[in-house]
Structure formats: C-alpha cells, structure tokens
C-alpha cells in the first residue's frame, strides 16, 4: 500500500469524470489520503448484484479538486492517452496472447492426462471387455460374409484401437474445436503497451481547464462545495456522498468501511444564504431518525472561511 507515496496517483479523466482503475492506487487513496470515491463497476465474478461493485472508482469532483490542489494526484486525459498501436506492438500483443493460450492448453492437457491416469485403473477392465465384445461381433460378421461368398481380403480389417485417438492437439491457437482456454479482458489500459498517459497528463487544474479536460469548480456553489470538502477533510474526516440523506456530503469519523457517519452536511454558498424554516425541520427530522446531526456549512468567499452549525432535535417532551 505505502510502497511509494511520493508517486502521484493518476486520475484518468474522460467526459469530465475522474476514474481510478488501479487497485493499488485505490487502496492508497483510501488509507493514506482518506479519499473513498464511489465504486461503480461490475464485479466480474459477482455480476448480478449491486451490493458489491468494483472498479472503476469514480471520484467526486470535490475529491479530484482536493487531490490535485494538494499535489497528490495528476489528471490524465484518457481518450488521448490511448494512441494508435504500431504494427510491432500489435504483433507483440498477439504473440503474447497466442503463447498464453498455448500454455493454458498445455496445462489443461497435462491435467487431463493426469486425470486419465487416475481413472485408467477403473476403466481398463471395462474397456478390455468392450474390445473383446467388438472383436467377437466383427469376427462373426466376417464369418457370415465369407459364408455368403465374399472375398475375405476386401473386407475391412479390425479398426485400430479406438481409445488411442489423440486428445486435443496443442497445435495452434485454435487447437481443435474442443479446446477450451480462458480469455481475459484487460481491465486497465496499462496492460496495453501503447497506452501512454505521460503525453496527456495535467498537474494543475488550470492547465486541465485550458485544455478542456476538467472544468470543476466553475460556479460559486461549486467553489463553496470544494472549500467545505477540503476544510472537513483537513480536520481528519472521511467524506462520502450525501444524496441518500438529503445533503451534499456525509461526514465520517473514520473509514466508512467500518464507521457510521455522524453528520449530513449541506453547503451554503454565502453566510447570508437564506434557509427556510421548513428545511430546518426536514433536516432535523431526517438527521434524528438516522442518528446523525445535520451540519449547515456556510462558505464565505471573501474570507475564504467555512463556518458550521449543526441541527439536532432538542428532545423536550
């Protein structure tokens, strides 16, 4: 996990969304930087459920802004990082694929041979008996044919032993129609030789914005959200998506894998922002029902400060 912290994490950006594909990066983000993101991909071996999801990890825009501002990560313009493979690269890729297939087929072959060996003792007797039966039947047929006046030489001889038919030859990729091997769909593009993120990397948000890769935050509300996120993160909290609880963020005291959140935070873009009484009642009600306190976060852009107020039901009567 903490192999090389100084290495910046590559956030692969396409369509103004930032993804993390590397599981090591994902673990580093979580353990070292307290950034969780949202797993959104289908888990390959559990593909019919939505409780556990896999890579890619999609980051909240606020998380991206924080990571790049803190120089912990860089942005990669992903569509441009996939360049056209050259002929030699394609040749190498295909050769590797074929050789991996061959290795797999050979392994299967060896395994099957071993299995045959183990079952031979069982079936040998049965095979011998069947062979005897077939020979007897063939001999009877020939005797009958000779009796009817046919030339014994033109008749087919006994067929060679059937059980010696060769098993799947490990010849080519195809390896016979019955050869089964595993095909792997590569998850990360780093497995492809022609993936070159270096040419499309942006280290600051400004550069990425000029290049049209990343534009968040662009409004006052978005800036306020980034400021609130960063402030709470710097205080040591883990942050999650709050939409299921009617807020912008959930504020966790530790890793959300193990701990419940304490606050539902809503971001208000200026200290003079009007809040209707109805909202206070709604937030108080929902927060109490879910054992959380509601956090009103006001951002003052002039002073670059965030102030917090929490709502809880007082519980009289």
């Amino acid at each position: 996990m903490g192999e090389d912290i100084s290495r910046k994490i590559e956030l692969r950006v396409s369509n103004h969304k930032a993804y993390v594909w590397d599981v090591n990066d994902l673990a580093t983000l979580r353990a070292e930087h307290h950034i969780c993101g949202v797993l959104t991909g289908t888990l390959p071996h559990l593909s019919q459920q939505n409780v556990f999801l896999g890579v890619p990890l999609v980051l909240l825009p606020e998380e991206v802004v924080l990571l790049v501002r803190k120089q912990l990560a860089v942005l990669v313009d992903d569509p441009n990082a996939h360049r056209q493979p050259s002929p030699s690269e394609l040749l190498r890729w295909n050769a590797e694929r074929i050789s991996s297939t061959k290795i797999q087929l050979a392994a299967t072959e060896a395994k099957e041979a071993q299995q045959r060996e183990s079952t031979r003792t069982m079936s040998e007797e049965a095979m011998r008996k069947r062979k005897q039966r077939e020979e007897k039947r063939a001999a009877a047929a020939r005797a009958k044919a000779i009796a009817e006046g046919a030339d014994p030489d033109s008749l087919p001889a006994e067929s060679p032993a059937m059980e010696e038919r060769p098993n799947t030859p490990p010849g080519g990729v195809a390896g016979g129609p019955s050869a089964v091997y595993a095909v792997t769909v590569p998850a990360e593009s780093t497995e492809l030789e022609w993936y070159s993120p270096q040419s499309a990397t942006y280290t600051t948000l400004e550069d990425a914005k000029v290049a049209g890769v990343w534009s968040y935050p662009s409004t006052l509300h978005e800036r306020a959200k980034c400021a609130v996120f960063q402030d709470l993160w710097e205080k040591g909290h883990f942050m999650g998506v709050g939409i299921k609880f009617g807020g912008d963020f959930l504020v966790y005291p530790g890793d959300p894998l193990r701990y419940h959140s304490h606050f539902v935070a809503t971001v208000h873009e200026s200290p003079e922002f009007a809040i209707r009484p109805m909202e206070i009642v709604a937030h108080g009600r929902l927060g109490t029902a879910t054992k959380k306190a509601h956090l009103l976060c006001g951002y003052d852009e002039g002073k670059q400060e965030v102030s917090y107020y929490s709502i809880e039901w007082a519980g009289f009567g």
Binding site: S14, Y19, P44, Q49, A95, V185, K244, G254, D255, H260
Partner: protein, 450 residues
Amino acid sequence: MDDNLEHPHASSKPSLAQDRPPEDDEQSSADEDEGPDWTKLPTVARPIIPKRGEKDFEPKTSGGSGLQRHVLDRARSAMADALRATRTTSSKTISYAVWHPDIARANVTVARGIHFTTMGHSVARASAPGKNDDVKTAKRLELLPEEALYLVERGAMFCWKEIDLYEDPNLEGMDGAPMSVQQAFAEMIGKEDLTLEKYHVYAYLRRLGYVVTRTQPPSDAYPVAAPFKMPPVPRSSIWARCFAVLLSPFRRLLTMLRRRDWWRPVYLGRRLHHNLNNPSLFRALRFLPSGNDAPFRIKRKEEDSPYQIFYNLYKPSTPFKKTSPPAPDFSLVVVNARTTPMPTLAELHDLFEILPEVAPPGPRRRTAQPNKPVPPIEKPQPAANLPLFRRLFSWAYSGVLTPAPTPPRRPNPFAVLKQGKKMVVIAAVDAGTISFFRFGQGAFEDFPMN
C-alpha cells in the same frame, strides 16, 4: 463466518436489495449508510451475497484501538482482493465485437450467451465499400455504446477497436486493436447521448435482470416499442357515421328508457330535490376547471428540459421480444442530481402527457399469494372489428347480449391516489450514487371525498 452467508435462489432473486437482514426499527434508517462488508465477500467465484456487516460508531482516539485497526485493515485488504479479480472467461462463452467509433456502434462478430436475446439490434450495412463497385448490404448485429460497455465490463465480450490492420499473417485472429475496459469507458461514454449517469443506471438495472432499451430510437434500424395508445378515437366508415347520425334520436330515446330503473318506476326524489346532493352541489359551484385533463397554462422556458424519457424498462418476468418490444413496464428519466433541479410542474405535465394511464392497483389479497401480477384491464373490443350490422345496431345489442355486468368493485381510493393515474420513474445520479424516484399523477378529481 459461513453461517453469515446466504445462498440466493431463484425465487428471491428479484428482491436482492431486500435480502439484507431484517432490520429492527432502530437500525432501519442507518442501513443505507451501512456499507457492504467486504470481508464477508468470498474470494472464490461463488455466487453468494453476504449480508451487510456491522459498523462501529467511531474510532477510539488516536486513530482507533488495536482491534479497530485490525478489523479495518482486514476489511480493506478483503476489498482490494475482491477488486483485483480479473475478467477471465472461457473461450467457449466469450463473445467478440468490433467497436466503430465513427458510428458509435459495436459490431458483434461472435455472439454467444443469453445476453443477445435482449441486447443489440440488426442493421443492414454496406459491407466492405470501395473494394468492388457493387456495394452489397448485409445484416449484422450491432450494439449501442451502453450495451457494448456493459458486456465488456462484465467480461462477457472482448472488444476490438476498428483500425487499419496491416496484412500480416501473425495478426491472424485479430479484428483490430484490443480494448481494455478502461478504454471502453473512455471512448464509449459520451457517444450517442450516453452519459456516465445514464450508463450507471443502465448497468445497475441490467445487473438486477431488467431489460433496458432506449425510448428514442438512435437510428431507424433500432426497434422500439410502439408509441403509447392515447385514448382511442373510434373510427368507423362514412356510412356507419351517417347511420349513426340518423339513428341518434332513437338511440337517445332508448338509452333513456334503459336507464330508467324499472324496479322503482315512480322514484321522483331526484327531480323534486333539484339534484341537491353534495357532489352535484359542489360540481355546480365549481368555476375553475379541475383535474389533469384541464388545459395547462403556464409559461414554460424555451430551453430543452433535462426531463426526457430515456430508457424503457421491462421486468425480468415480462416476455420480451427484441425485434418488436412490447409496451414498457416503466419509463425512466435519468438526470444528474448535481446539476438538475426538481422537475417543474410544466416538465412533469409534459412527461405525463406522453405516458399511458396505468392500471389501477388490484384489490389487496388476504391470502398469501406472493407476486401475483395485477391482472391487466380488459380492453374493450374495438368497434371496428365487429360486423357492420352489429356495429350499426350496437345500441340494440348492448342491452341484450351483455347480461347486466356486475358493477366492478370500487377500488380503494387511497391505493389509487397513492399510485397515481400515470407514473414515471426518475433516476437521480450523484457521482455514481443512484436514487430512483417514482412520480405519480394524482387523480384526486376522480375520488371526491364527500
């Protein structure tokens, strides 16, 4: 640990989301916050969904106690192990496709597995133009970006990207440059109106077994459900209409006679009291039109609304034919929760305008009959199918042939009001978190409470 695992079986499959442990009231609200417990996820390829785990309130000071740290590390490494699983599929079950970025379609070259009964559509494309002068068209199976991406993400399909391949015998078996899942995400999203939010919703529902198709056909070759039938306008031949005009006085007389309650021929109460019961009185007093059919006058904004129906949704149990999809079970709107405000009245009105009325909820059954589908309302036989004679004299038949139908039991108004007359599902996606909302059009004018 194994006793915490439960084997999902076919009968409870659709309600996977409800398979979580039955929460007592104290826990129920906190359960969405209760993340999945990755340590209980088996690493072997076994289709077992573990129950959600317990969480602590907060870490002890100074970064948690030893036990807390141990449990957290275990959870993290279990999660990382599960995420490292590769997409490895047998060569006998994997499909192949070629992604054409210029037309935003993936052409399936090898189709295997059950997915293609509900995904992909066939398109006639000119095959190999330029080689010969006579361009031949051939039908081929093509996938929309979300369909291709979903199959690649599942590991069920290997996708090549269309490039000019060099003639080389060593490149045998390749149809282009191999694509990783990451590349598919980078290149397929953003094509053909597909956003990441829409893809998330698509994949979420596909993983649950729903069939998802586009509402607006992206091309002419894409089969879509027939547009919803609006209240049918009876169409009859000109002669029938002439006859109808001629016969209408007689018909009116007959209906009057028939409406008469012959069991109480001298019932005059209504006439005497000048219809002075409450409903009719209120009706007489009303001077503003009410109900959803009343014309809607609100100045609407000119710009395009984000609330457009994007997906048609079919339950796994609905018989689905790819070439002629039936009417959808649900219509789905996908919006980005970060940028889209609540739908306005005008937007909802526009949505409901194109949607059909849903069948009223069936009476609640006392006996335990799980998942009994609501019987579809019987459609009245369209008049055009009847013989001419019967069509002309339908007034005479109506009383004779249909033996006084028992009046249908009045449905529970509250169930109907809650369900609404028309229904649309809106999926609000905030950075990968999907919330589904159901908007119903309340039919309060149908159930006056007096």
